[in-house]
């Protein structure tokens, strides 16, 4: 039903045909492009997944990838649709979604993110995670435009809604909804088959993630294509299952916490690994997620 179309990699002419990747694509790996219909592509590459829509009045990208992979992403979409980049969204501030922005600015695109997403990278700040000061990113890596609550593009015959959800993966998340093409790019609020990151250092939370997933489930229909931040293309049913799994994990951690266990002890006990044995460890693993949840619930309880 879906056509996997050949794509050129950043480094050459290797062509990939076949099922979605089991492992994240690296710098030299070829991109994999899936035609979702309605003139929207899912591009999997170095940096995760990006949804690209053609509108007749320019291309709209849900994220920018990394500096090494952004140019090939732009070229592939331009070659497929014969349109120039018009809008590039940042679903959140993490580098794998945003460090490719300079190539998009050079190509003439307008970059858009949530106000917090830009604030996070435009100001010098002290990082509790690194225990050090972090300098602002270079101007060519900052979105030129930010929004607060909701935002809509009416480009050609494609309506595209940008929706912000509070404190989910970060405090500055945007979901990109290609309404006419029936495609939702979730950013990292939803990842498919990998252990999630819930970046509490940047305002993310488990409870916010669950609430955002509920909203995404409400936006989607049975035929909606869900492009996760990372991992293979998904359906509404996959998001529902993921939401149920996160909630189950939440209860598992809360139960141990009720027994008086500390976040460190909970990480040690690793109660979540058995719940999702198929999930791939990535930036995080099952013990990290358990500890992260335990810390959040302890903070909330204080």
């Amino acid at each position: 039903m879906r056509k996997i179309i050949a794509a050129l990699s950043a480094i050459g002419a290797s062509v990939v045909l076949g099922a979605a990747n089991e492992t994240p694509l690296g710098e030299g790996d070829p991109m994999e492009v899936t035609d979702l219909g309605g003139r929207v592509l899912m591009v999997e590459g170095y940096g995760g997944n990006v949804a690209v829509g053609a509108t007749g009045e320019g291309l709209v990208f849900s994220d920018a990838f990394l500096p090494e992979s952004a140019p090939a992403l732009i070229e592939t979409a331009m070659a497929t649709f014969d349109e120039a980049p018009r809008i590039v969204v940042s679903t959140h501030h993490h580098g794998d979604h945003t460090l490719g922005l300079a190539a998009f600015h050079e190509a003439g695109a307008l970059s858009i993110g949530h106000t917090f997403m830009r604030h996070r990278i435009a100001e010098r700040r002290f990082s509790d995670y690194r225990q050090d000061w972090v300098e602002p990113r270079a101007p060519e890596l900052l979105p030129r435009m930010t929004y607060d609550s909701a935002f809509a593009l009416h480009l050609g015959d494609q309506r595209i809604a940008l929706v912000h959800y509070e404190r989910a993966h970060t405090a500055g998340d945007t979901v990109v909804h290609f309404i006419d093409a029936d495609v939702i790019a979730t950013g990292d609020i939803f990842v498919n088959g990998v252990w999630p990151i819930i970046d509490h250092y940047a305002g993310g939370s488990v409870d916010g993630t669950l609430a955002a997933l509920d909203e995404i489930i409400a936006l989607a229909g049975p035929d909606t294509d869900i492009v996760p931040g990372h991992g293979p293309l998904a359906s509404r049913a996959d998001v529902i299952a993921y939401r149920a799994m996160l909630d189950e994990m939440r209860h598992a951690v809360l139960a141990l916490q009720a027994d008086g266990m500390s976040p460190e002890e909970i990480a040690e006990a690793d109660p979540l690994a058995a719940l999702a044995p198929d999930w791939r460890a990535w930036f995080t693993d099952s013990a990290d997620v358990a500890a992260e949840m335990a810390r959040e619930f302890a903070r909330v309880a204080e």
Binding site: E57, R86, L110, T115, R118, A122, L142, P143, R144, M145, T146, Y147, D148, S149, A150, F151, A152, L153, H154, L155
Partner: protein, 303 residues
């Protein structure tokens, strides 16, 4: 001079329909340099704000379609090129967005509050004449919409676009060029003139008052304010408008609460102290009618 501009603009002020813009408008574009790459352009229709610099031109409102070549020449005069990258429509009225199609054809990306676009897509009933006006040509519709606000970071400026609810219409934006200290208020502020409250499009006098209150929190004594209509203003002019609106609201509300008819209210001449505001398109009588209509609908509901 001011009166002339207002009354000619009024001919198409309330028509978002394309045919209203085909009249042979012609006007010189008068450009005022406000510093830091920000300019005010006065032609015919709503006053234009313009920011120019290395990231391209950003324009607030675009008046009427036939004026586009002249506006383009004025932009080129100060920017070296007549290209405009972004246009923000402060609201849906034809004297503020009549040039949208021309500018979109020239490559501009046009923004507005979501209610402003929504009103362009549907027939509207004039708050003055009660006549139905057809939906605007789709070529005039802004292509990017927002709810609460957007910020642009360009030309070394932080350009803050903020929605102010239910003031002139239900889709108004004001635009603050933070670095330059210039605030473009669209039709939420008419300098020295009674403003038009488009009550059929969600406008209310309470929203006007809240919007001006809010504007005063943004600006200091040195700020320059571009009104939708009327000459360039300063903070004191906004305060004068706020005082007038607050007093008007109290005076007319008294009549509404007392159950006075519109005729009785007009006969009482409640705004005699503010006659000087009546020299524009909205004369004293019209203003009283609009405020009375607005308050009669809302006070009865809420009390």
């Amino acid at each position: 001079m001011l009166r002339l501009v207002s009354s000619i603009a009024a001919a198409a002020l309330f028509a978002a329909s394309a045919h209203a813009q085909t009249r042979a408008f012609d006007a010189d574009i008068v450009v005022t340099d406000l510093g830091s790459g920000v300019f005010m352009l006065v032609g015919r229709g709503g006053n234009i704000g313009l920011s120019v610099g290395e990231d391209g031109a950003f324009m607030v409102d675009d008046q009427f379609a036939p004026l586009t070549p002249r506006i383009e020449a004025a932009v080129a005069e100060v920017a070296g090129s007549g290209d405009v990258r972004f246009i923000l429509n402060t609201h849906y009225h034809g004297d503020h967005m009549g040039g949208n199609e021309e500018w979109a054809d020239r490559g501009a990306t046009i923004f507005a509050h979501e209610n402003a676009r929504q009103r362009l897509t549907e027939p509207q009933v004039s708050s003055l004449t009660g006549e139905e006006e057809p939906a605007a040509d789709p070529a005039l519709w802004p292509i990017i919409t927002f709810q609460s606000g957007v910020n642009f970071y360009m030309n070394g400026e932080n350009v803050r676009v903020m929605h102010v609810p239910n003031a002139h219409t239900d889709g108004d934006s004001i635009v603050y060029f933070e670095g330059a200290g210039v605030l473009h208020m669209g039709d939420v502020f008419w300098n020295g003139l009674f403003p038009y409250i488009d009550v059929n499009a969600g406008g209310t006098i309470d929203g006007y008052i809240r919007a001006l209150d809010y504007a005063l929190t943004l600006i200091n004594e040195d700020a320059r304010i571009i009104p939708g209509h009327g000459p360039l203003a300063e903070r004191a002019d906004v305060i004068a408008a706020l005082d007038m609106l607050t007093e008007t609201r109290a005076l007319i509300a008294e009549h509404v609460r007392a159950g006075d008819s519109l005729e009785d209210t007009l006969a009482a001449q409640p705004l005699a102290d503010y006659e000087s505001f009546g020299g524009g398109f909205i004369n004293t009588r019209r203003f009283i009618e609009l405020v009375y209509t607005d308050l009669a609908a809302r006070l009865v509901l809420s009390e």
